[in-house]
Symmetry: C2
Subunit: 82 residues, 2 copies
């Protein structure tokens, strides 16, 4: 069972991923071509639907030409919006 705080982490990661992708002017399709991650999986990560692994996160970082830590460069919101 994924708690609200957990969902929050996945959603924040998804938002971060999407903003980095858009800042690099990459479409989902282009990004998928640049790394070993399926187009549909990137979409699911961006909407906080899938609990990404470190290796997949590393693949996304490679496609974005950034360090993996930049994908987690957000502060976890403590307040849970109900």
């Amino acid at each position: 069972m994924v708690s609200d705080l957990d969902k929050g982490l996945l959603i924040q990661f998804g938002k971060r991923l999407r903003s980095l992708r858009l800042s690099k002017k990459l479409t989902l399709r282009k990004m998928a071509l640049l790394c070993n991650v399926e187009f549909a999986d990137i979409q699911r990560y961006e909407t906080g639907k899938v609990n990404i692994t470190l290796l997949s996160l590393g693949e996304l970082a490679k496609a974005l030409e950034i360090e993996p830590k930049e994908l987690l460069d957000f502060t976890q919101e403590q307040d849970l919006k109900h």
Copy 2:
């Protein structure tokens, strides 16, 4: 099949996790009690044997009282030691 670069990422993450745990003077057992992660799993993460998920990484960050991004605060070594 996990490539050398992938193994590198897991090993570097493991080293980072271990150094943060020790800096907080936490044993594996104490850390396991502080979060929803098994003692043996923390050990496997520290030795780069398991591809951790973002939610588990979030749990470890909670136990260490840090932001998840601090667990990835290392620069990926590009050179692959054969």
